[in-house]
Amino acid sequence: MTTSRNYTDLFLPISAWLTGFDTTELQATGMTATYYATITTKNTASCIDDFFAQAELVLQEGGGDEDKTNSLIASQLFPTSCYNNLAQNIITMWYTGEWAPDVNAAPSLAEAHNISPNAYVQGLMWTAASTHPPGAKQPGYGSWADPPIGPPVDAPLTSISNAR
């Protein structure tokens, strides 16, 4: 069974509201197609149809207003009881690269796998934490002695001196 239509046009915008990363940031991971394919294989077609129908309504009703949209998401998409927990699974996927295992049939710690090797590398939790995934996107020799390059440092350490 396939979904009644392709929802890739909705997948990015609703992912952006769910993750807090804008659509350009999400696209820059190069994972959009893989992740859309993942949700459609991990869920029934009717679940996908229902989720995106609701997501479309939420986006329309929210009209781009942040508080309103967030409140609609909180009540109509986010709860674990909704759509087989799809909203939270989408967030976990973008942030960690893993499709959250079914709580009733979770693999052992050693067996659990990410969606793909690149899904791990593109995990957004590392970006959110001003760092990089361990073992990938290495920042270069000595970089760790300074605050990370990039987003402004909002809590600069003043007058560091080697006390020794």
């Binding site: 350009t24 290495q138 270069g140 000595g142 390059i149 990039g150």
Partner: protein
């Protein structure tokens, strides 16, 4: 199931250049200042190919196109070494390398600085046409081409002229010309990761060694082999750039029996010409509406690029230790380029790094 292993011998670097001709042809240089300005050109030449090679490198997968990736990457490392060597020569003769000015970065597609404008160097994805351009860039000098500062056909010609200029002016200047502040030199402590050993330049002989390193590795190798006993190719030899690219182009390695004038005939290597990201060639910030996500991402890339050039400029002008800080900036630039290459333009092509001057 017994396995026997033989440790590979250390690799030798291909150093192929013709014996230096006697001191002549120096009338090309009118002054020490002119020599310094030509060394600035050398820095610009070495830099000008880096955005080109890097852009192409970032459009291919390091695992599935491992041979092409590693080959291009090794050439980029050598170009960075060459740029640093040229800056060391410049500092050694009291000049001031400049790498952060608005005319330092060429507008791509570009002719090589001060070349004979025979071909354009683009920013574009990995494909056969692109590798053909790389081959033109690194084309070896013909046997009897004279040294040439301007309108040179090959980069080797240009460096021959620089070498003669250094020799001449060091010879005719009382006390020599290698009187620059020694503390300005970048040393191997600050530079690592391949492309050969960085040598500090304190004398004419150091400078000649440095130029031989540049020319021997890269552009100026002769098209003929005069010593039939010398082995030019094989697993344990680091080739000059032209031959590295020729292996990609022909999807074959050279064999020790191969000659420099013929294509490689060794074992096949896997090159996936179709696996490159379909980047729009020569992207520009002006292609995007100001303030649009693509504009902002490209601007952000260029700001990182300028931060890197500024860091290198400062490293070449009194703070050589800053070259260590340039490494994280280079990685940052790479990840920003890879982000851009994931952004679709809507016409089947992807955005890409534009390497443009922006104020920071």
């Amino acid at each position: 199931m017994s396995q026997h292993y033989q440790a590979p011998a250390p690799r030798r670097r291909q150093q192929l250049f013709r014996p230096d001709e006697p001191l002549h042809g120096c009338g090309l240089i009118t002054s020490l200042d002119s020599l310094r300005s030509h060394l600035q050109t050398a820095i610009e030449i070495e830099h000008s190919t880096i955005p080109t090679y890097l852009t192409t490198l970032y459009t291919i997968n390091p695992i599935t196109n491992a041979f092409a990736y590693q080959t291009i990457q090794s050439v980029v490392m050598e170009e960075m070494l060459h740029m640093t060597l040229a800056a060391n020569i410049m500092n050694a003769i009291g000049g001031h390398p400049a790498v952060n000015t608005n005319d330092f970065i060429p507008e791509y597609p570009t002719y090589l600085p001060h070349s004979d404008d025979a071909f354009l160097v683009p920013l574009q994805k990995f494909c056969k046409d692109t590798v053909d351009v790389f081959l033109k860039i690194e084309k070896p000098a013909h046997k009897f081409v004279p040294p040439e500062f301007n309108n040179y056909k090959t980069i080797g010609q240009f460096y021959k002229a620089v070498k003669y200029g250094l020799r001449y002016w060091d010879h005719v200047t009382p006390g020599g010309i290698f009187t620059g502040d020694k503390s300005l030199q970048v040393t191997c402590e600050q530079y690592y990761g391949g492309g050969g050993k960085l040598t500090a330049v304190y004398s004419l002989s150091d400078a000649v060694l440095a130029i031989n390193e540049i020319v021997g590795q890269g552009e100026g190798m002769d098209g003929t082999i005069e010593d039939p006993d010398q082995v030019f190719f094989g697993e344990d030899v680091e080739y000059a750039h032209y031959y590295k690219f020729n292996e990609i182009r022909h999807e074959r390695r050279y064999r020790p029996e191969d000659t420099a004038n013929c294509p490689p005939t060794g074992r096949r290597v896997h090159v996936d010409w179709d696996a490159a990201i379909n980047m729009h060639p020569n992207p520009k910030m002006k292609d995007y509406p100001v303030g649009s996500p693509l504009y902002n991402k490209t601007l952000d890339f260029n700001q990182s690029y300028m931060r890197l050039l500024t860091c290198i400029h400062d490293a070449f002008n009194g703070q050589p230790d800053l070259l260590m800080k340039a490494v994280p900036l280079m990685y940052d630039l790479k990840y920003k380029a890879l982000d851009l290459l994931n952004l679709p333009l809507g016409n089947g092509e992807m955005a890409g790094p534009s390497f443009e001057y922006v104020a920071i």
